[in-house]
């Protein structure tokens, strides 16, 4: 979080900022973009890439860094398959604990990056990285004929999944490959965290915009996602399709390749703080 001095320097007005919906401008006012560095070099959304996002949230009385999301993409089977490796680490409140999720997905090389099979592990860790054993959930599944079949916590399960569908992790790939102009909206069911079905989702092109950051304009394209069980998302990609920011309700994802260094420091700080 930015220092009081830094806030004064950029004319931060807490009341004014907090009284508006979260936006790129609000993120800038909060100081959440201070660590943002424009990515350089060529980017091929359809190739292999790795993006790490700072997870930043507005709270009751504060706004803060809350963890990170790391997504790594590769292709196989001559581009017919997309492999996603995901890691998400979240700092829990008022208590020395971290919630960690890792997932490996094999997806179709289609527009929705539709998951075909996956493994996911979620667990709560104490500050030293030691898991609370009862909290661990390991699941694997594959999609066959409109059904998800798999094992979860050592038991089999089988459930229907509406089609077309995609996962929230896949969307970090999907939005980077969309046309940068108004086209037919994509309609799908969302499989959040690979097990929560949320229906009636629509992803569409919203606008082209220029956002000033670091003293220069940044040309962006914005897509929006609206559907059951989420507050609307706005995804902001640059001219090459690289996803730089995503905003939904009180949460923001900010591209930051160095965030895991900060995460380590945050965890160490948390370890020094007495829990409640």
């Amino acid at each position: 979080m930015a220092s009081q001095k830094a806030k004064r320097r950029r004319g931060y007005n807490a009341e004014e900022t907090r009284s508006r919906p979260l936006s790129l401008a609000a993120l800038k006012a909060y100081g959440a973009l201070e660590a943002f560095a424009r990515p350089e070099g060529e980017f091929d959304p359809a190739g292999g890439w790795r993006h790490t996002y700072r997870l930043w949230l507005v709270g009751n009385r504060w706004h803060q860094y809350r963890g990170f999301l790391d997504v790594k993409r590769g292709t196989s089977d001559g581009g017919h398959s997309v492999d996603l490796e995901v890691r998400r680490s979240l700092l829990m409140s008022h208590q020395p604990a971290i919630h960690e999720t890792t997932a490996s997905l094999t997806c179709a090389g289609d527009a929705l990056c539709t998951p075909r099979s996956w493994e996911i592990k979620a667990e709560t860790l104490d500050i030293t990285g030691k898991p609370f054993p009862l909290s661990r959930l390991v699941a694997s599944a594959s999609v066959k004929g409109g059904r998800i079949e798999g094992r979860r916590g050592g038991r089999t399960f089988d459930r229907r999944v509406p089609t077309p569908f995609t996962s929230d992790f896949s969307l970090f790939d999907v939005v980077q490959r969309l046309a940068k102009q108004e086209t037919k909206p994509m309609r799908f069911a969302l499989l959040q965290d690979l097990d929560e079905v949320k229906e009636e989702h629509v992803l569409s092109y919203r606008e082209r915009l220029s956002f000033e950051i670091g003293g220069a304009g940044l040309a962006l394209h914005c897509y929006q996602q609206i559907g059951r069980g989420i507050l609307p998302y706005r995804y902001y990609v640059d001219g090459q399709g690289r996803l730089l920011f995503a905003i939904s309700g009180i949460r923001a994802y900010i591209l930051d390749p160095k965030v895991q260094v900060q995460h380590k420091r945050s965890v160490e700080r948390l370890a020094r703080r007495p829990g409640k």
Partner: protein, 469 residues
Amino acid sequence: MRTRRHNGSRPVSRRRFLELGVLGTAAVGTGRAFGRKGRPSGSGPRPNFLLILTDQQGLDTISALGCADAHTPNMDRLVRGGVSFMQSHSANPLCSPARSSLFTGRPTTETGVIVNGLSVRETIPNLGQWLGREGYDTVYIGKWHLPVSFTYNVKGFTVIPAGMGGQGTLGDGAVSRASQGYLLNRRGDKPFLLVASFLQPHDICQFVTMHSRAPDRLAYPDIAGDLPKLPPNFTFDEHEPRSVKEKRKRSWSDEQWRYYIWSYHRMVEEVDAEIGRVLGALEDSGQADNTIVVFTADHGEGRGRHKMVVKNYLYEEAEKVPLVVSCPKRMKRNARDETHLVSGLDVMPTMCDYAGIRPPQQMRGKSLRPLLEGNTTEWHDFVAAEVAVTGRMIRTAGYKYITYQGDPVEQLFDMKHDPWETRNLASDSRHAAALAEHRKLLKDWSARLDVAPIPESVRRRIDRARRKL
């Protein structure tokens, strides 16, 4: 420097360790009443309990109970598998106070938690302590708020720390995952009480703050056709106590009000998905047939009714909460109880009853078991609720009476003919007898309470508030 010892998976502070030792040798609170009820022979294994709590969820937000704007397939499953109480009231529509009553069966004047951030009076045992001493494995995951919102230290419970203060949208996923993990990983024969305490749709509080200066146009024009209608009591008789009027500070357009309600329903759907994850794990665990699921919330949300947002007042939108109890093999299925007045105070006695445990003395609620199983029983003639220290409500079958100590304006609503509370009848001479009757009910109820001491800091706040009136 703090020292910790491990008790199973739970980090235990030295103080907590000593407390556990003390609890191991001395009865909690009213120890004389402690003990197993004579359970009928052949009644089978003691049931498990899964208590699912949401935060800031009004009763009429569930699609199976008639809400057309939210899609809640998982809450609907609970509704179909059990009994939904349509006259379910929070004991105090604010987070900490409501929770203190849910977990003790005592009104907030007795628990001492009359505002947020206070602890339950030491002499009153909570549900975890009570069931834990009778052999239950008691596990708490998520928001607690007595006094701290999120903590690893809850008396009577093993805590799996998960959740984020004020940020349900990401924290609730951790709560449901940890609950899922517990249900699928637990071993042994002990019955369990698992509390999965979610924060959503409480993020609406942030939404309200973040839309204090709402934009001139709708942020997402595509949803204009999907916005819900304004509620029928958006306009109403504003002859109200001053402390209620003061909460009403919105200057939104009708469209902004509707966007706020639309957003709230998305948050309800968000927590519905988390509940689905937990229910799925319960089914996978093989324990569903022997687990009583209780689903409720601490309080509701304004949703534009009476032009209000959030909570901490006594109109229906803030004080009526879902209460669904489900265990298809033990009780009625897909039943709606439209008549019995129930409250958060009735949750703990119900669990004690099904566990075959005598409830703590001075419990003010009653077991819902006869109602759940379709048996006749004598029931409350009224429920009482408190709020904001001085606010009191008496709800009978026909009327709702609201008063704030020190405020000359009382409210009386004819709930049969005016369920949206639009006409205050307190000064209508045709309802004078009803007014007198409800005043007396409140007076008699108040006289029976074992009032907890009020902390000096809270007393100063009350005095300041009174001086403003």
